[in-house]
């Protein structure tokens, strides 16, 4: 069994020996093999202090200097596409420069609505529960390409802290249908890798039992459907769809796969965040392996939650809460926010390292064929703005990287649309159509 901590050391040296992507069709002809594209959304909360985040622009797009907060990504500089405003004047924090989230309501609303970020649509209330009102882009893509892998998508998190409350709900299968992030690595392992271990006989017995139960349940759902009022059937159908997805995993061929050891990280008290580094490492390991074994091609990594009050004593030396810091523009607090942001950047950099270490079927690396979108629900935490959003793209998959792309008045819906299109999904708009003018140009 491969110990988690050793996994990437192993991968670093022995990666080429992995049965990488063995589930993919391999052509024996001389035709060039096309690798699948992948999409990863990487989320961190609470906005950023602008002067510590945005790069310093040079004479050309390629000529830029990364800021303190983004400097841990320097080693992936050629794989970055940083997005920001042209001619930004910090005195006008609400001027529509760079990329703006336009579907934010004008009425006082808190500003941390997570359900707008990947949907491009305002939040709505569903029988008293506030939720996103359109599918998120990862799910739009998963719906188009998800049938090619055991998991249409994976939703991972670290210290999301449960799923109650809109600030924890990033991913929407459809309007009002949120998908929870799995923020315990052992639960991710159980979902993705548990069926890949054990002797073939044991696996088959276990799968047969599960299939028997699922068959039985299909009968019960069908029977219940006939008894329900027509107006309730859509809710039941959403359950049947979910059951089919689960069932698909019981029948899908299991790719040969290097299965890591099951993570074993003790849960901490709700206010003790000292396990955050270990949890993020574990989730990044698992996701990289899930890609290596082609278990999925679409994923979200949700670090904490919108308006998160995580604490980073291991960085800042204090017990101050992240959200509280984000509301304070004193130099001391801004220093701490910059430290936290740089640390998030380092985690992302580590994840990109992992993807760069996995050979893909086309002879390149998984990173070359993955679009990574680092997103935040807010721009400036003190003023709760949604103008000049601190968005960073990374990886490949058609992106023209190694650039700092400065934009004028761009809509975040257009960025979402461009990403969906780049993933090969042919749609005309994402979220609220009134904020879409067409796919954001300049990315490729």
């Amino acid at each position: 069994m491969l110990h988690r901590r050793n996994f990437f050391r192993t991968l670093g040296t022995a990666a080429l020996a992995l049965p990488a992507l063995s589930g993919l069709p391999r052509s024996l002809s001389a035709q060039p093999i096309t690798a699948p594209k992948r999409l990863v959304i990487w989320f961190t909360p609470n906005g950023v202090p602008f002067d510590r985040w945005f790069p310093t622009a040079g004479a050309t797009e390629r000529d830029f200097t990364l800021s303190e907060m983004l400097s841990p990504l320097e080693r992936h500089r050629e794989r970055l596409l940083v997005l920001g405003a042209r001619e930004w004047d910090p005195r006008y924090v609400r001027s529509e420069r760079g990329i703006s989230i336009k579907c934010v309501p004008d009425t006082p609303s808190g500003g941390h609505q997570l359900g707008m970020l990947l949907t491009g649509a305002p939040m709505a209330t569903y029988h008293g529960v506030e939720l996103g009102s359109a599918p998120s882009i990862d799910q739009i893509v998963a719906r188009a390409i998800g049938d090619q892998t055991r998991f249409p998508s994976l939703e991972l998190g670290a210290r999301v802290g449960g799923n109650e409350g809109q600030g924890k709900r990033l991913v929407y299968r459809d309007a009002g249908q949120w998908i929870p992030a799995v923020d315990r690595p052992e639960q991710v392992w159980d979902r993705v890798f548990a069926s890949l271990v054990g002797s073939p006989d044991e696996r088959e017995r276990d799968l047969a039992r599960r299939r028997g139960v699922v068959d039985f349940l299909h009968g019960r759902y069908a029977s219940l459907r006939t008894r329900l009022d027509a107006g309730d059937r859509a809710t039941l159908d959403a359950h049947v769809t979910a059951l089919r997805e689960v069932e698909g995993r019981l029948t899908a061929p299991l790719n040969a796969c290097e299965v890591p050891g099951r993570p074993d990280i003790a849960p901490r008290r709700w206010d003790d965040y000292t396990d955050l580094p270990e949890l993020i490492e574990a989730q990044c390991d698992l996701l990289a392996l899930a890609f290596a074994c082609d278990q999925t091609r679409v994923a979200t990594v949700q670090l904490t939650e919108a308006a998160s009050n995580a604490r980073y004593p291991f960085l800042t030396g204090t017990e101050e809460w992240h959200h509280a810091l984000s509301h304070d523009n004193s130099p001391e607090s801004v220093d701490k926010l910059a430290q936290i942001g740089a640390w998030h950047a380092e985690r992302l950099s580590g994840f990109l390292d992992r993807l760069a270490a996995i050979p893909d079927v086309d002879g390149r690396t998984v990173l070359d064929n993955t679009i990574v979108f680092w997103a935040n629900e807010m721009a400036d935490g003190v003023y709760h703005t949604h103008q000049n959003m601190p968005f960073v793209l990374a990886g490949g998959g058609g992106l023209r990287t190694g650039r700092y792309l400065q934009l004028d008045d761009a809509s975040h819906n257009d960025l979402l649309l461009a990403l969906v299109n780049l993933m090969g999904v042919d749609v005309d708009y994402v979220g609220a159509p009134e904020y879409c003018t067409g796919p954001l140009g300049g990315l490729t």
Binding site: V129, P180, D229, G231, D232, V246, H327, D328
Partner: protein, 519 residues
């Protein structure tokens, strides 16, 4: 005029210009004609919430299912109460895993007894699904039984399948003979379930199922309701209601700063137990709204007693009296929950009264205001620092509805200890409730506020409404107004008796009827 169902203080608009300080309530859409037959709103198809799932499994299999229930995806929250809504593959997987886990916990030999496999399946399914299984369903369960490679494994497979079934997971309610939008009587089986899941949080028992099967439950409803609340299992419902209404789970997670060095995890746990003991005490004695809001009992053990100046040597919680505190809003646990790590919290204390006791909602602060408050320092009272913060007109428009209530709690610090000075300044506990109909008026200190609220019909109706949300698993809407009127009138006529409130809800039109959902 009856109090509006839910006063949305629309952007707190009118309040600045209006010298009476009365915010304009949103006009209620209608005065429903309450004499033209039952009215109610639709409840969306909902699963058991986690508490209900756990209770149902515990009764069904005689196991402690709490830990397994904790692995299910969190409930959504509607109107402040847990509801089993939302679905994804992750939700479904957790239900499947949980069903297998509780099947593994069950003492199969004892559960099956001398039954044949089919009889066992029939008995368990009837209980779990709150109705007799059909012949097809029994066939399917028998087929599944045959998949097991031992009698024990077969029985567990049957248990797993029954617990994973939608008929177990959902609150199944349907009206095949009524058109969409029509209001119809609940069928007896659905009514048996509603009643048991309301008052016991769990499955209906044999007596309820027998009346449901005989088709007489609508006639025996009140008798059953009285029987259920006389059973110790009703205490779980009381605890569960107050946990959600008052947000009590937050108490045991409280963390305070260096200002309150004596406040640790053990104190936080004791405080949660203390307020639960207070609620249980009220229900075990007077069980009136007045007692809930004004009884001066506080439960302390030696640790809490030392911290809150209510000395006792007892290691376990004992009742004591504190003339400085009245009722729920004087409980140290709640005041600590509504306190900042280093100081009191007038804003959240005021908001709590607005939302939980007056059923009023206030808008969020504007996106562009500075939310930081000057930190505590000697000579500057909390009241003064907070007043500076919300002095601007943009803030005051709403905060005048919040802060003057919260300032009345200033004799309690950030962990709910009684005090007479704050940073060296004598505390000023004068306060005022604005724009809350008969709950409005000036007061001085928490005990006076408690009396004022306890005498208010607005508060009484709000408490009735909160219980209604808990009973129905959804927010009320305009179509429920007649039922709420009726429940509130019975609650008032019973002198604010909380048990009669529960009976009134269980026998209200909104409870034993449903509106057929539209497409």
């Amino acid at each position: 005029m009856r109090a509006p169902l839910l006063v949305l203080l629309v952007a707190c608009s009118a309040s600045i210009d209006d010298p009476t300080g009365s915010p304009r309530p949103e006009p209620t859409p209608r005065e429903l004609a309450c004499d033209e037959g039952p009215t109610t709103a639709s409840t969306p198809l909902t699963r058991l919430n986690r508490t209900q799932w756990s209770e149902a499994v515990a009764t069904l299999l005689d196991v402690d299912a709490t830990e397994v229930a904790a692995t299910l995806v969190d409930d959504a929250r509607a109107g402040g109460f847990d509801v089993g809504r939302g679905v994804s593959a992750v939700h479904l997987e957790r239900y499947l895993e949980a069903a297998a886990s509780v099947a593994a916990l069950a003492d199969v030999a004892r559960l099956v007894g001398a039954d044949t496999p089919t009889d066992f399946a029939r008995r368990l399914a009837r209980r779990a699904w709150r109705r007799a299984p059909t012949a097809d369903e029994l066939d399917a369960l028998t087929t599944l039984h045959a998949l097991g490679d031992s009698p024990d494994a077969s029985a567990r497979l049957v248990i797993e399948a029954i617990v994973a079934s939608p008929d177990f997971l959902f609150h199944v309610e349907a009206s095949p003979d009524a058109a969409p939008g029509e209001v119809a009587r609940l069928d007896d089986h659905a009514l048996a379930s509603r009643l048991a899941f309301f008052l016991w949080r769990g499955l209906p028992d044999d007596a309820l199922l027998a009346d449901a099967e005989a088709g007489v439950l609508h006639d025996t409803l009140e008798t059953h309701a009285r029987r259920l609340i006389a059973d110790p299992r009703f205490e779980l419902a009381v605890r569960d209601f107050h946990r959600q209404w008052l947000g009590l789970e937050a108490i045991e997670n409280l963390v305070k700063g260096e200002t309150y060095a004596d406040f640790d995890a053990a104190v936080a746990r004791d405080l949660r137990a203390s307020i639960e003991a207070f609620v249980a005490h009220v229900y075990a004695n007077d069980a009136t709204l007045d007692a809930l809001l004004t009884d001066d009992t506080v439960f302390v053990n030696a640790r809490l007693g030392a911290l809150y100046a209510l000395p006792t040597e007892s290691a376990s919680l004992v009742a004591t009296h504190d003339p400085n505190r009245r009722g729920l809003l004087g409980q140290p646990g709640l005041l600590a929950r509504l306190g900042k790590p280093d100081q009191s919290d007038p804003i959240h204390r005021g908001l709590f009264v607005r939302e939980r006791l007056l059923c009023q909602t206030l808008p969020m602060p504007p996106n562009d205001v500075d939310l930081t408050i000057r930190p505590p320092e000697p000579g500057a009272s909390t009241r003064d620092r907070f007043a500076e913060h919300t002095a601007s007109e943009a803030c005051a428009v709403c905060h005048r509805l919040i802060d003057p209530i919260g300032f009345g709690f200033e004799s309690f610090d950030g962990i709910g200890r009684f005090r007479t000075t704050d940073e060296g300044v004598a505390v000023d506990t004068s306060g005022e409730v604005l724009g809350a109909e008969d709950a409005s008026g000036a007061f001085d200190g928490q005990p006076e506020l408690a009396e004022q609220l306890a005498q208010s019909a607005t508060v009484r109706r709000c408490v009735a409404t909160q219980w209604m949300r808990f009973a129905l698993g959804r927010e009320e809407s305009a179509a429920d107004a007649c039922s709420i009127d009726d429940v509130d009138a019975r609650f008032a006529a019973a002198g604010g008796d909380l048990r009669e409130l529960v009976i009134a809800i269980a026998t209200s039109d909104a409870f034993h009827h449903r509106r057929v959902p539209t497409l």
